[in-house]
């Protein structure tokens, strides 16, 4: 097991694209945590003498301000932190639910497996984005609801991947040995099955993060996600789209950053898949 990880780490280290993508993500993440703390401006402080000024150093707002005179650099970093956090949490939720669900279905087999996977099939046939919108209409637009509705749609593909992997290891000798050793099903699933199917799971989890970030931005863009005065990249882009004629930087700063982040996550996920030597499906 550890040999595989050492090989993977070595291959990743020799891949410049992977290093660049990972470095960019980590750098932005760090900046989004530290930046708002050290910058003199706050994400919701208004600078009435500098309304919608263009990027430049002379007025103390490096990336300009929005129409309320709020500093774009701090707001974008703050929004990035919220977007990244939501992406990570939602991806972790889909990881936990998907792995447990898929491993149980694959290990149980038979009728249980059939019914559990039919449920997944039906759910993936539904237009879940519309259900999320329905949920946000019903229960208000809190952060918790946003997270749970995003997490609720994220786990389906993960469950499918884990089930497929579980089916492939289920008849192997070490499982038989564990059964012979008297281990219960829960112990076998989480101590023996899950660690052995983790490769493709990690790859897919890595690719889930940008999906979740995109999804959150999408909802926030439509006004159904994060609410003022807080911002995520989605709400910042929505603000920017309304002002682009007079102040294009309000759109371009968060929009460009979101595109670069999504690109980096996807590239890193692809590199990780290659390095692990699994096709992730």
């Amino acid at each position: 097991m550890s040999g595989i990880w050492r090989d993977t780490a070595r291959r990743l280290r020799s891949n410049r694209l992977a290093l660049g993508a990972a470095g960019f993500i980590l750098g932005i993440a760090l900046l989004s945590i530290v930046g708002p703390l050290v910058d003199a401006n706050r994400f919701d402080s208004l600078d009435w003498s500098n309304i919608a000024v263009a990027p430049g150093a002379q007025h103390g707002h490096w990336l300009g301000t929005d129409r309320l005179g709020r500093d774009m650099l701090v707001r974008t970093l703050d929004g990035t932190r919220i977007s990244l956090l939501i992406g990570m949490i939602a991806a972790s939720m889909s990881l936990v639910v998907g792995v447990a669900y898929g491993a149980i279905a694959g290990f149980a087999g038979g009728g249980i497996d059939r019914w559990m996977m039919r449920l997944v099939e039906i759910m993936s046939g539904l237009p879940l984005i519309f259900f999320v919108i329905l949920l946000t209409v019903l229960f208000g637009r809190g952060l918790f609801l946003l997270l749970s509705s995003i997490g609720a749609i994220g786990w389906l593909t993960m469950a499918r991947i884990v089930r497929g992997q579980t089916l492939s290891v289920r008849r192997r000798e070490f499982i038989e040995a564990a059964v012979a050793g008297g281990a219960g099903p829960a112990r076998i699933i989480f101590k023996h099955v899950v660690p052995n199917v983790i490769g493709p799971v990690i790859v897919y989890a890595m690719l889930t993060v940008p999906q979740m970030i995109l999804f959150e931005s999408f909802l926030s863009f439509l006004g159904l996600g994060i609410q003022e005065p807080h911002a995520s990249l989605g709400t910042l882009i929505a603000d920017g789209a309304g002002e682009m004629e007079a102040a294009p930087w309000i759109l371009l700063v968060p929009g460009g950053l979101l595109a670069l982040l999504l690109l980096s996550f996807n590239l890193f996920g692809d590199c990780l898949r290659d390095a692990l030597g699994s096709d992730g499906s």
Partner: protein
């Protein structure tokens, strides 16, 4: 078509109908579970006026009666009154918006399919050529640049700076007004279709029967069009439902940004206004489309790959 095929499709049809019924039911009861009524914002309304208002929308009835009445109305194509647009029914709103959204979606999916398949095939035939790299760049861009960044950005360049194209509006579907929205809408599925076609084509081109076709001396175009294309497109057919879902999702954003009067914009506004019947109606319309698309894809599968015809 044999008896088994017909029975298979009847079964699929039944399953689709059951799914749709489940969606309607779950959505309806979710809507009624919501905290607060749609008239909470009415200020200083006398108690009897409020009672009249509730009776007008059927809220004085028991929940099961309301559900039965909604289903019965739905069977007649009546989605009920909108809570927010007081003098308009949801059916009228859908009737106004659907042609716009359907036009937009149909052009986008057709474009994504034609260009995606062509690009993917070209990329597979000439690996490491301009088409190959172009397809890869497009695929990455299609994933990384969200529609709500791309459309304002393109508006900024072509609409505001160059004045080549209008920034927003419908104008009875005039081509310049539709160009950017359609382009943005079709890009993500186009990218995925190109990638799937490329992979499928590479796979098929290595198979023995394609080698035989070449050995017979058939020209390249005949081999591709008559032999390789159909099986290579099976993965693309599998992606069609997600593609339609992606275009529907994208249309929410694109219609809102470009100010197109389609149902996507109504759904977003309905959601922001807590207009429950409107949102419910939209969810039902979108689900029906998507489920219908799933059935269509099953038929398409059977045509593309005869082996699938007798799947249990």
């Amino acid at each position: 078509m044999g008896m088994r095929t017909i029975r298979y499709f009847l079964g699929r049809f039944g399953g689709a109908a059951a799914t749709l019924f489940a969606i309607v039911t779950i959505s309806f009861f979710l809507m009624r579970l919501a905290p607060g009524g749609p008239f909470d914002e009415e200020q200083n309304l006398p108690a009897d006026a409020m009672a009249n208002l509730k009776a007008r929308y059927g809220f004085d009835q028991p929940l099961w009666n309301q559900y039965g009445r909604y289903l019965a109305a739905l069977a007649r194509g009546d989605f009920g009154p909108s809570y927010r647009y007081r003098d308009v029914t949801v059916t009228e709103l859908i009737g106004q918006g659907l042609p716009v959204s359907a036009t937009l979606g149909a052009i986008a999916i057709a474009l994504a399919l034609c260009v995606g398949v062509a690009l993917g095939t070209a990329a597979a035939l000439r690996q490491d050529s301009l088409a190959d790299h172009g397809a890869m760049v497009l695929a990455v861009a299609g994933i990384a640049i969200p529609s709500f960044v791309l459309l304002p950005f393109l508006d900024l360049i072509f609409g505001i700076h160059l004045h080549w194209l209008p920034v927003a509006g419908w104008e009875r579907g005039s081509a310049p007004h539709l160009l950017l929205p359609v382009l943005v809408l079709c890009l993500p599925p186009l990218a995925t279709i190109a990638r799937l076609t490329r992979a499928g084509m590479l796979d098929v081109m290595r198979s023995p029967y394609v080698r035989t076709a070449f050995a017979k001396g058939l020209p390249l175009s005949t081999v591709i069009l008559r032999h390789a294309m159909r099986p290579a497109l099976v993965p693309v057919a599998g992606y069609l439902v997600p593609a339609v879902a992606a275009i529907m999702t994208g249309s929410l954003v694109v219609e809102s940004i470009a100010g197109l009067p389609g149902i996507g914009r109504y759904l977003v506004q309905g959601a922001l206004n807590r207009d429950y019947t409107l949102v419910l109606g939209m969810v039902i319309v979108y689900s029906t489309f998507l489920i219908g698309m799933g059935l269509l894809v099953d038929l398409l599968y059977a045509w593309l790959d005869p082996r699938i015809r007798f799947r249990p």
